[in-house]
Amino acid sequence: MTSEIIFQAIVTGLMMGLIYALIAAGLSLIFGLMEIVNFAHGEHLMLSMFSSFWLWSLFGLDPLFSIPITILLMAFCGVLTHYFLIRYILKAKMLIQICATFGLSIFIRSIAQLLWTPDFRNVDKPLLEGRIELGSVFIGQPQLYASLVCLVAFIGLYLFVTKTETGLALQATAQDRHAAEVLGIPSNKMFAIGWAIGLGCVGVAGGMMANYFFIFTDVGINFALFAFVAVALGGFGSIIGCLYAGIIIGLVESLGGLLIDPSFKLLYVFVIYLLVVIYKPQGLFGRY
């Protein structure tokens, strides 16, 4: 066990962590707005990867260039989700909200299985290929760029939410939707925007991961689990918390896999989740 191997694991963990952070940020934004956990988040990630894949396989568009289209498609998907499902369950009990988005996740996944079969696919020869050597550490180029793009998108999201007028309106709606409505902020429109942005984040992550990850119908489950954990770790509704939580999870996953046993990655993350949530129930940066 040399220090290079450990360093390699840290780099890998950091890169995965940034992707988890962006996926979790979308989830957290949606939760902060309307206190609904999108249990179909993993399936939305799967959809964005497939959108990237089909744009490549049908039109020959490299995943790198199709990202704007994927983002738009996912944002549209978010608005549709809000319009056809979420707006009916805004006032429902928590159980019903969980069941509804859970139902959506089963629905999307099994439709995808019916249409595209559960085969594994991957994008052949994307523009981003190969790896960089830094001393004795190897960094895959697609992974590196994916994590950098996710980091940039994350910073963009953070600036958008904290600095722009729409972002502030989103925050106002998250704090008190009735008071915000009195001030002339239509909460329904804000919810739709929240869903569009939340799934747009997933679109960025999915589009970049399509470069190097296998694309199949169950791909989202693990990512969604880690995203749930990241959101709970960072504190529900806190966007900056997602960044730290995502990185923690990425590091725990890769270091735990290296030092103990790679087949129990999920368990290490689970233990971290339990420890944090039990000692700090509102998460690291949560307001709930």
Partner: protein, 336 residues
């Protein structure tokens, strides 16, 4: 301090006479049904309905009565399944005894899981249980003692045997075994829902703060509900293992089990003793028939239906199908 709480329990039998006679009639009908000569497909259908009704009933105890949403309830099903098969194959213990081992182990796990996790509220608990369900699957896939990923193949007896709980020539004995377990667990949950314990659980669900101020130890009652729920779930896993005789982690710890119990309960009506039964009686035939007629087209058509039904129910009938039935038929007649 418990004496301070005077929750007036409803008398167990003071129900509408009509309802009693309808239930009695249905029970007799269910016992007599195989005499008509059901073929093995229909026997299988009824067995599945009974099994899923009990599984959903178990989920109903934790989610419907005490309001904690567990998304990993399949774990207890799997524990039950592995307990009987493992003890039978390693030590030759008859499944009739190891069913209780399974219940006991599930109960212990429910306590161990419940103590740290039931302090979590709402979404935190739901996500934690989702992880629990998958962790069990991961661990059993790697655990060599119980056959790792290939699972356990229960040694077959040459002939039908009541001691080994294996019947190869007919599904009829399974039908009666599942029916009896179905009736027992239904009765147990019915008693529970009308007992002081049931009222306290609902108080915990509806307003934990108010319950706490009435000296109800909220977290203890949640754990009690979780243990009861786990102990109802485990025997179904045991019986299912005896029914199919091959178990592997992907089958008995599948997340689909956790999904379907939720779906059945929400479809029928959550928090109501009748909900899971109605849900199972409607959903299981739909799923079995859709598997027969549409399954060949290469996909999870029944899962598409599940998802769709779940969303539709959540949007239009959050109280489940039971809300179509007028309340005064199901509940005790108001005395003037």
């Amino acid at each position: 301090m418990d004496k301070l709480i005077v929750a007036k329990s409803e008398p167990l039998w003071n129900t509408n006479n009509k309802v009693i006679s309808i239930i009695g009639g249905l029970v007799v009908l269910l016992f007599a049904l195989p005499l008509v000569g059901l073929n093995s497909f229909y026997l299988h259908l009824f067995i599945m309905i009974f099994m899923h009704a009990v599984m959903a009933q178990s989920w109903n105890v934790i989610a419907g009565f005490s309001g904690q949403i567990s998304l990993g309830h399949g774990a207890f099903f799997g524990i039950g399944a592995y307990a009987t098969s493992f003890f039978y194959m390693e030590y030759g213990i008859t499944p009739w005894i190891s069913i209780f081992f399974g219940m006991f182990i599930s109960g212990v796990f429910a306590v161990l899981i419940g103590i740290p996790m039931l302090r979590l509220s709402g979404h935190y608990f739901a996500i934690a249980t989702l992880l629990i369900g998958i962790s069990f699957q991961v661990v059993f896939q790697r655990w060599d003692l119980v056959g790792a990923a290939s699972g356990l193949w229960v040694t077959m007896t040459p002939e039908d045997s009541w001691t080994a709980l294996q019947f190869h020539s007919s599904k009829l004995p399974y039908y009666y075994i599942f029916l009896v377990f179905f009736l027992i667990s239904f009765f147990a949950v019915w008693v529970l829902s009308r007992s002081k314990l049931g009222y306290r659980l609902r108080a915990v669900r509806d307003d934990p703060q108010a319950a706490l101020s009435l000296c109800i130890n909220v977290s203890n009652y949640k754990i009690i509900a979780y243990v009861i729920s786990a102990m109802i779930m485990a025997p179904m896993g045991s019986l299912f293992a005896q029914y199919i005789l091959i178990i592997d982690p992907d089958r008995v710890f599948n997340i689909e089990i956790s999904i379907i119990v939720l779906l059945i309960t929400v479809l029928g009506g959550i928090g109501n003793v009748w909900g899971p039964i109605i849900g199972a009686a409607i959903l299981i035939p739909i799923s079995e028939y859709s598997r027969i007629y549409l399954g060949g087209t290469g996909g999870a058509v029944d899962l598409i239906l599940y998802g769709l039904i779940l969303m539709i129910i959540c949007v239009f009938r959050p109280n489940g199908l039971i809300s179509f039935i007028p309340k005064d038929i199901l509940e005790r007649k108001k005395q003037r």
